[in-house]
Amino acid sequence: MSSAGNNGRALPWALVTPALGWTLLFFVLPFIAMGLSSLTVHEGGSFTLSNYSQFFTNPSYWQAMVNSLQVTAIVTVVSVLLAYPFAWILAEQVPERWQRLALMLAVLPFWTSYVVRSYSWLLVLAQNGVINRALTGSALITEPLQLANTRFATVTGFVHFFVMLLTLTIFANLKQLSPSYRKAAADLGAGPVRTFLHVVLPLTLPGIMVGAFLTFVLCIGDYITPQILGGNNELLMPQLVMMQIGRRGDFPLASALAIILMAVVTVAYLACARWLKIERA
C-alpha cells in the first residue's frame, strides 16, 4: 500500500490505458471502419474496389485533386515568400523589447474563429465589398471586379492564415540562429547580402521546410476556406468529400476519397522526411 512496488504492474497500465483506449476506440477503430466502408458499394453489401477506380476514371474527381494540389502549391509558395521577409524584419529590425509585442500583434487575427475569418474576406472581396468600392470610388475601374468565388479568393484566404503561421515558425527559427555565425561571416569579409544568402538562408531552410509541410497538410485538408471563398466554381478534394456525404449520403465513396487524400499527405511527408527529421534532432 505504501510503496509503488506493491502495485508496480497495475498502476502504470491504469494510468495509460484510458488514453490508449480512447485513441484505439475513437481514432483507430473509426479509421478501420472508414477503410472497410471504402471497399463497399453505396446501398450494397459486397466488397469492391469500384470507389477507388471511380476516382481514377471520373475526370471531375481527378480534377478536384489537381485543383487541390495546385491551390496548395500556390498557397505554400506565396505564404513562404511573404512570411520570410516579415519574420526576418521582426527578428532583425525590430528592437528586442518590442519583438514579443510585434509578434503577438502579427498573429492576433489567428484567434478569430476560422469560419468567421474566411467570411470576413468575403466582405473585402465581394462585388460591393471594400476593395471594389475603393477602386470604383477612386475611379480606377468602372465595373467591379469578380474577386469572390474565384481561386484568387481561396488562395487569399489561405495565404492570410498561413502567413501568420509561417511567420511564427520562421521567426522562432531565425531567433535560434546563433549570432556568432553572422559575425564569423562578416569577419571573413561577406557583406550583408552574401551573409544572408550563404549563411542565414541555408541554416533556416529546414525550418522553412517544416513550416511549408505544415502549410501543405493543413491547406490540402481544409474544407472551410475553399467552400466559403471559392464557391462551387471549382471543387477541391475536401469539398468533394463533403459533397458525397452531404448531398448524396454516399459514405463509401467519401471514405475512399478521404483515404486517397490521406495517402497524398503521407507521400508528401515521406518526400519531406529528411527535412522534418533534421528539425527534430
Binding site: 473509426p30 468567421v116 468575403l122 492570410h160
Partner: protein
C-alpha cells in the same frame, strides 16, 4: 544603404500588418453598421446587430453548447493526457515508444478525416448524431496535444519531490493529487486553454456529428447562407473577443511558468 533597408523594412512590415488586419478590422467595423448590409459606405455606429445576436435563441444556445462542449471535452482531454503522461514519464512500460506514438498519431491527421471516421463508425453502431459525439471527436483531437505538452514538461526535479513524498508515507493517489498536479499546474493549464480554444473554434467535426443541437461555428456557418449580414459580423466579433480572452489567459499561464 542601411537606412534604405530600414525604410523598406518598415514599409513591408506595414503592408503585411495591413494584410493581416484588413479582414478583422472590416469585420468589427461593419458589425457596428446601422443599416442592413455590412458594406461600405459605413453608416454606423449602432449596436443593434449585437442586440439581434443576443436575442437570437438559436445563436445563444449554440454559444452555450460551444462553451459546454469546449469545457467538458478539454477537461476530459487534459485528464486523460495528464494520467498517461505521468504513466509514461514515471514507469518503464514495454513498447512505450510505440504507445506514445499511438497517442500522438491523431495530430497528423486532418480534422475532416477524423470526423468522417467517427461518422462512419457511429453510423454503423447506430449512435445518433449529438453534441456528445462531437465532444468525443474534440477529445480525439485535443488529447494528443495535452499529452504532448504535459509529457514534455515532466522533468527530473519532479521525480525527486514525488520520491520524497513517497518516502514520507504518501500513497500514490496522494502523491498524484498533492504533489504532481500542483507542480505541473502551468502545463495542465496550458493544455486546458489550448484545447478550449481549439474546441471552441472547431467546425468540421461538429458539422458532421451534430444535428439539431449544435455548436457556434456550425450555427455561424448556417448564418452564412443568408449572404453578407451584419448579424454575422456581430457574432463573429463576439467570438473573436472570447478567443482573445482565452489566449490572454493562456499567455498569463505561460508567463507564470517562466517567472516561476
Amino acid at each position: 544603404m542601411r537606412a534604405l533597408i530600414r525604410f523598406a523594412s518598415w514599409l513591408y512590415a506595414l503592408a503585411i500588418y495591413g494584410f493581416i488586419f484588413l479582414p478583422v478590422v472590416v469585420l468589427v467595423l461593419f458589425s457596428l453598421q446601422a443599416t442592413s448590409f455590412p458594406i461600405p459606405p459605413f453608416t454606423g455606429p449602432s449596436l443593434r446587430w449585437y442586440d439581434a445576436v443576443l436575442s437570437d435563441t438559436r445563436l445563444t444556445s449554440a454559444l452555450v453548447n460551444s462553451l459546454l462542449v469546449a469545457s467538458i471535452s478539454s477537461f476530459a482531454s487534459v485528464t486523460l493526457g495528464f494520467l498517461s503522461a505521468w504513466g509514461f514519464a514515471r514507469f518503464v512500460l514495454p513498447g512505450s515508444g510505440l504507445l506514445r506514438g499511438l497517442i500522438t498519431l491523431p495530430l497528423t491527421v486532418s480534422y475532416l478525416i477524423i470526423g468522417m471516421g467517427l461518422l462512419v463508425l457511429f453510423n454503423w453502431a447506430g449512435v445518433p448524431k449529438s453534441l456528445v459525439s462531437a465532444g468525443i471527436g474534440h477529445v480525439v483531437i485535443n488529447l494528443p496535444l495535452c499529452f504532448a505538452i504535459i509529457y514534455s514538461q515532466m522533468g527530473d526535479h519532479q521525480i525527486n519531490i514525488e520520491r520524497a513524498a513517497r518516502d514520507l508515507g504518501a500513497p500514490e493517489w496522494k502523491v498524484l493529487l498533492l504533489i504532481t498536479v500542483p507542480v505541473m499546474a502551468p502545463a495542465i493549464f496550458a493544455g486546458v486553454f489550448l484545447s478550449m480554444t481549439f474546441s471552441w473554434d472547431e467546425f468540421v467535426i461538429s458539422f458532421l456529428l451534430t444535428r439539431f443541437d449544435t455548436t457556434l461555428p456550425v450555427e455561424i456557418w448556417n448564418l452564412l447562407r443568408s449572404g453578407l449580414n451584419p448579424k454575422t459580423n456581430a457574432v463573429g466579433s463576439l467570438v473573436f473577443a472570447v478567443s482573445i480572452v482565452l489566449v490572454v489567459l493562456f499567455e498569463l499561464t505561460l508567463l507564470r511558468r517562466k517567472t516561476a
